[in-house]
Subunit: 278 residues, 2 copies
């Protein structure tokens, strides 16, 4: 376990990390960076960090672990700014929902100056911002670490311990494989949930029951953040959309032909797979 | 309120009606029909009906209200069998998820021999069968009644009272309009949830979080029942699928072009509409 952790971007995930670490690892020294000075107010009022600032280098100084919780597009620029404050023993990770683009942007900056390994804690809610942060956000969650062959085993071990210390399980897979999986189980479902909401007019939505609310719950998530995620992972999302459209064409044909056996097979396969999830 | 109610098909909805009426309307006399004698065992053991049998005519005799809770395909045949036991004052309704086909099958059988008005209580769960029945299943639910211009106002009023007596709110709309609305908020979402599950392989499903579980929860519903619903409402489902595919094409194009503004507009519109639901 690192003893000084710097959190960059105290929103839902970054703020929840501060809360969880304060509660579960009281001896860990916490540092927090936010772009806007106003965002530091609540951090200071609640005593969530031992040091907080808008200067990236000042916050990174002495950190054993830096966790980037900013939008994915801002990460590489921040890392360039803090590299002089880091040591070869420092670990940098992030919490972005897309891993290959982040890996390709940050790995070349490491070069022995710090150790880099991406993380994706699969926790969150349709809310965002520090106000929605919770100390138990990671309890029972799954965090995917995305090492490549060059990643030192010690970095993987340290980062596993970190995520386990805030209540998360961990698994590892390559960055591109991560992006393929999350396109199928998160990004495409989000896009489709939004399309489903938009395809239902107000009269239809007025009779929506719990089923529609479940299917479309994620569509209430912040539009700007999800636009960025979808665009960052667009190759994998487009491939997942191909698979979905192929399934949709088969279902349409079976429906138009009144082919009950084929529809039942489709629904039964999904029913079995879905029941095995919970 | 009717004082003798006959429930045909004591599954999740029929069984929940028996439980709700026993609890909230103890003076109502309850009659229950099931196709298979074994299905009557639990009804009798739990004292859920004053009379139960596998003979439709015997169960319908003397009923002020008959509620058909069988599969939609079995309803017209049952109504033909019980018509001689009914009076012009008897009301026949159903709980089917599709209204135009049921209306077209049953309305011609009424002809002054009984009063017919379709109902769709929008309650249920991914479970089915009497074992899943709950006395509070209709609490806070919405029931759509589907009168046509020829439906007597008194029948609408009686049936509204009946559904309100088990805890449901009611609205009315024409059978075809009902089918269009539920295709958009129930049937198409169900089909898509199943296609989404099938499009994600086991590795992807292994990292699924709460979002995927929400989106796909309804896909755990009974395949046979949903095949029947989708086929009964296939015209409206195919139209809803057209609307969805148009939305999907727009999203695909915006994504491929990296058009952030258009994706944000799509997601923002859905976000606003979804937030207004809850």
């Amino acid at each position: 376990m690192s003893c000084t952790v710097a959190i960059f971007g105290p929103g839902l995930l970054g703020g929840s990390l501060l809360l969880a670490l304060r509660k579960r690892q009281p001896s860990t020294r916490l540092r927090a960076w936010a772009r806007r000075p106003e965002a530091l107010g609540p951090i200071r009022e609640k005593g969530l960090a031992d040091f907080s600032d808008t200067d990236p280098s000042a916050v990174a100084a002495g950190a054993d672990l830096v966790v980037l919780c900013t939008p994915v597009g801002a990460m590489a620029g921040l890392v360039e700014q803090i590299t002089p404050s880091l040591s070869p023993q420092s670990i940098v990770t992030d919490v972005g929902s897309v891993k290959a683009p982040v890996h390709h942007a940050i790995a070349p900056l490491a070069q022995g100056k710090f150790s880099w390994l991406g993380s994706h804690p699969m926790a969150g809610s349709e809310q965002s911002g520090l106000a929605a942060a919770r100390e138990d956000l990671f309890d029972g969650s799954l965090t995917i670490l995305t090492p490549v062959p060059a990643t030192p085993e010690a970095t993987v071990t340290s980062l596993r311990s970190f995520w386990e210390s805030v209540g998360s399980r961990t698994i590892t897979c390559a960055p591109t494989e991560h992006d393929r999986r999350v396109a199928a189980i998160s990004h495409l479902p989000h896009l489709l949930a939004a399309i489903l909401v938009n395809a239902a007019d107000a009269d239809a939505r007025a009779v929506a029951g719990p089923g529609f609310r479940d299917v479309t719950r994620i569509a209430a998530g912040p539009a700007g953040m999800w636009t960025e995620i979808l665009l960052e992972n667009k190759e994998a999302v487009l491939l997942a959309l191909d698979a979905l459209e192929a399934g949709s064409r088969e279902a349409r044909q079976a429906l138009a032909q009144g082919n009950a056996a084929e529809i039942t097979t489709l629904l039964h396969k999904a029913c079995q797979a879905r029941r095995s999830l919970s």
